[in-house]
């Protein structure tokens, strides 16, 4: 099985670790070799949270510079910040809705024009799929379901050896009951958005 290295990046509170864990569970459920790694710590304090999911049998729990096959980013500035993991064949999925860091909120730094900057990103990598995932989470009537939207988009790429039914099973089993319908809806909206992009 070909090794597939996926890097997820988000801001603390966006649900990155849950998404990575669900993907790991789905891989185990469908018999795909998997290693997941997380950097914990300052997540609740508004910092960047990065995780990696390596499918297909490699042992190393981290993805080195230039070696990500897929990058899933929950925030456009973080897409730029993680770009050193990308090579010219990397598939980049990104939410386009900015979540300005505190330094921007208090006027200590400008927030770049991400629409323009994402165009630059698109020219550097294999493929860029950019859409307002937060809008889809809101359509799913669960603003915290951006992580499910991004998972849906990731599965729509068709690059994973893990089937959609496994990830949906894990969403049903491992997320809070009252959020399951909106989580599944968010997943489906993300899936469609990535197919259409």
């Amino acid at each position: 099985m070909k090794t597939m290295r996926i890097v997820n990046v988000a801001v603390g509170g966006q649900g990155n670790l849950l998404a990575s864990n669900l993907l790991g569970q789905a891989a185990l459920d469908s018999g795909v070799p998997v290693v997941v790694s997380e950097i914990h710590g300052m997540a609740q304090r508004g910092g960047v949270v990065e995780s990696a999911i390596i499918l297909g049998g490699a042992r190393s729990p981290v993805v080195a510079d230039g070696e990500a096959d897929i990058i899933v980013s929950f925030e456009p500035v973080e897409t730029m910040r993680i770009l050193n993991k990308a090579n010219r064949d990397t598939l980049v999925l990104t939410n386009t809705r900015p979540l300005p860091p505190f330094t921007v909120a208090i006027g200590a730094a400008p927030y770049p024009d991400t629409t323009e900057a994402l165009k630059v990103v698109g020219r550097k990598v294999g493929k860029l799929i950019a859409f307002d995932g937060q809008d889809l989470a809101e359509q799913a009537e669960n603003p915290l379901s951006l992580n499910m939207v991004m998972l849906g988009a990731l599965f729509a790429t068709g690059e994973l050896a893990v089937p959609v039914k496994s990830i949906k099973k894990m969403i049903r089993q491992n997320t809070k009951k009252r959020f399951v319908p909106s989580n599944i809806k968010a997943f489906d909206l993300g899936y469609k958005a990535a197919l259409a992009a």
């Binding site: 290693v35 790694s37 500035v77 330094t103």
Partner: protein
């Protein structure tokens, strides 16, 4: 029932490394667990705590969050010498705190399996240094095991208990952040019955370490090390992969990088790999045979060149002629890993698969193809996203009040916890920090040497961990400073673990609450005041009196951590909003306290995000125009 408590074996579960350690200990029938939390070890004790609390009927082990690592190890030593299987967990710097009992417990030994976890943190994701705790195995003479990932962690934890019993010694298990925080499928075995009743047979001439006893105990330890060496020589944890005339010797998480590199380089028949999982005592004979069987060998280990130096010595002794490569002892990365990852086997910072593969390819003269990272040309400058104290964090209010009273020239020794973030502007109230408790003791030296006003900060858990003795010293020796104890009712930084000062009733834990003010008074501090930091004016008045006091004064700033409060008590306060008609744009609210709920709108005026604001009212009390008011309740 939690999956970790599944009594039967056979299934695989996706586990975090730290959960795998817990499962391994449960499969070994662990009966007694102590710890002090700290990244990257915290999920080990937190999982033991959660399982015990949620499943009192299905868990038989005793668990405690101890006040510090020395206490944790001594407490565990008592249980282990009385015949219970024990585990004691801590982060790497915690072993420094526990080093005193560790060295002599190695002499005394244990009567049931005892496993000590040291979780090291290369690249300092969440630590004050990146010391290499493999040295502690050499220093103490205790055997050292180094698992490479979650599945092996579970197996090795379980094995460590029986190894400990075979040798009569505690066993050190060393992990690193990437091992603790990896997840992978872990096969389960059955849970055994747990023996929870110990027995202590008096033998003072074995257990009381007066010189005459310890002279014998040292010899006993040396004999046990020799026995450990024989086991290490035969251990499956020291295993050879692949074949060829090129060799790599590696340990820890680097094993994964090396084995992946061998695959990527298509070199399974060229490079053989000696993985050292039982890494002290090192299997000298196995290493010697390995060295004699190859032409070239590369040693790949994060941190200090511990194995590398041993390999060189072994090669010398056995007359192996192979070329030995490894770290470049005196070549350091020119810049921090935050700027650029090292491109060679460095003593500083963690390794990664690409760097290891490139170093191996170059050393062995093999071709490799790797995609190049994209160029970052044309990517705009990115605003930083540093961590920040949460909206409604009481530390922010305390910092504000202290700064208003003492001004920017006072010296602020600080300590380890969320409040270390007071380092960042605009708060900028952290001037000196070396370890847990150093705020209290260093204040005496700084105030004496400079004659400047010194106001230091320490959290409640850190105060119990290492602040008490420093405070006694300061009172006894008539130091002159003010200590602010930031009592947010929990151990916030590492994930809200209880400490002796917490409200045990709210938690529903069968532990005893210890009142910080009573402790401080009991230690002889003459000027002690407890303040509520969100009552800014009265807090400032109390702080003024404390800093005017000649000698040691203590302010206890008491207010629950808002993240913790959300869990133990429902949110009741309304958020605040800026009245645009009253705001004259002083921006004190934004510039002085840096609350993440505040932002500047398009007109450059302060605004509050009602979803983030928890109604602490700090900004409302700072605003010179009284323009910040609670949002009116919906009719």
């Amino acid at each position: 029932m939690d999956k970790l408590l599944t009594t039967s074996g056979g299934r695989q579960q996706l586990l975090l490394g730290n959960e795998a350690i817990v499962r391994g200990a449960l499969e070994a029938g662990v009966a007694f667990v102590t710890c002090y939390p700290g990244t990257p070890s915290s999920e080990v004790p937190d999982t033991f705590y959660r399982l015990r609390k949620q499943n009192p009927g299905a868990t038989r082990y005793y668990f405690e969050y101890s006040t510090n690592e020395k206490v944790a190890l001594e407490c565990a030593a008592g249980a282990a010498v009385a015949g219970l299987r024990t585990m004691c967990t801590m982060k790497h710097v915690g072993v420094n705190v526990a080093a005193d009992p560790l060295m002599t417990l190695a002499y005394v030994g244990v009567n049931a399996g005892m496993v000590i976890l040291t979780a090291d943190d290369p690249s300092l994701f969440s630590s004050q240094n990146e010391q290499d705790n493999r040295y502690y195995a050499r220093l103490s003479g205790l055997p050292l095991l180094e698992p490479v990932g979650p599945a092996e962690l579970k197996e090795v934890t379980k094995y460590a208990f029986s190894l400990s019993e075979e040798l009569g010694l505690p066993v050190l298990m060393r992990t690193t952040t990437r091992v603790n925080h990896a997840r992978e499928p872990v096969p389960f075995q059955r849970l055994p019955k747990t023996k929870t009743q110990g027995k202590f047979e008096k033998a003072p001439f074995q257990y009381v370490t007066v010189p005459a006893v310890s002279r014998n105990l040292h010899l006993k330890l040396l004999a046990a090390q020799k026995q450990a060496l024989a086991i290490s020589e035969k251990s499956d944890l020291n295993k050879i992969f692949g074949s060829g005339k090129l060799g790599v010797i590696t340990s820890g998480v680097s094993v994964n990088y090396v084995l992946d590199a061998v695959d990527d380089l298509g070199a399974k028949k060229k490079i053989k790999v000696l993985k050292l999982g039982f890494s002290w005592p090192l299997p000298e004979k196995k290493i010697a045979r390995f060295l004699k069987s190859v032409d070239k060998v590369l040693v790949v280990e994060e941190g200090e060149p511990i194995v590398e130096e041993a390999v060189n010595a072994i090669a010398n002794r056995c007359g192996a002629k192979c070329d030995i490569g490894g770290k470049q002892m005196w070549k350091f990365p020119p810049v921090s890993v935050d700027v650029e990852r090292p491109k060679f086997l460095s003593r500083a910072f963690e390794y990664n698969p690409r760097m290891v593969r490139e170093v191996m390819a170059k050393y062995f003269g093999l071709k490799q193809q790797a995609p190049r990272p994209v160029s970052l040309k044309g990517i705009p400058d990115l605003p930083g996203r540093p961590p920040n104290l949460c909206a409604g964090c009481p530390h922010r209010a305390t910092f504000y009040a202290v700064k208003e009273v003492v001004g920017p020239d006072a010296i602020h020794p600080t300590d380890i916890g969320c409040y270390t973030l007071g380092l960042l502007p605009p708060i900028s109230m952290a001037d000196f920090l070396i370890c847990m408790g150093s705020s209290v003791s260093s204040s005496g030296g700084l105030s004496f040497a400079t004659g400047k006003k010194t106001v230091s900060f320490i959290g409640d858990s850190t105060f119990f961990h290492s602040g008490l003795t420093g405070l006694v010293n300061a009172v006894h020796n008539n130091h002159d400073f003010t200590l602010v104890i930031l009592d947010n009712g929990t151990t916030a930084m590492t994930g809200h673990q209880p400490n002796p000062g917490v409200d045990t009733e709210a938690l529903g834990d069968p532990t005893t609450h210890i009142d910080i003010e009573q402790v401080v008074r009991g230690l002889g501090v003459q000027h002690v005041t407890t303040i509520k930091p969100f009552k800014v004016r009265s807090a400032m008045a109390a702080i003024q009196k404390a800093v005017d006091f000649k000698g040691v004064s203590v302010i206890i700033s008491q207010e629950l951590c808002p993240l913790y409060a959300r869990r133990v008590a429902p949110k009741t306060k309304r958020p605040f909003a800026v009245n645009p008609n009253k705001c004259k744009g002083h921006l004190d609210c934004i510039q002085k306290v840096a609350c993440p709920a505040m932002f500047l709108d398009d007109q450059g005026k302060a605004q509050i995000n009602p979803l983030q604001c928890i109604g602490c009212a700090l900004c409302a009390q700072i605003c010179p125009e009284n323009a910040i008011l609670p949002v009116k309740a919906k009719a």
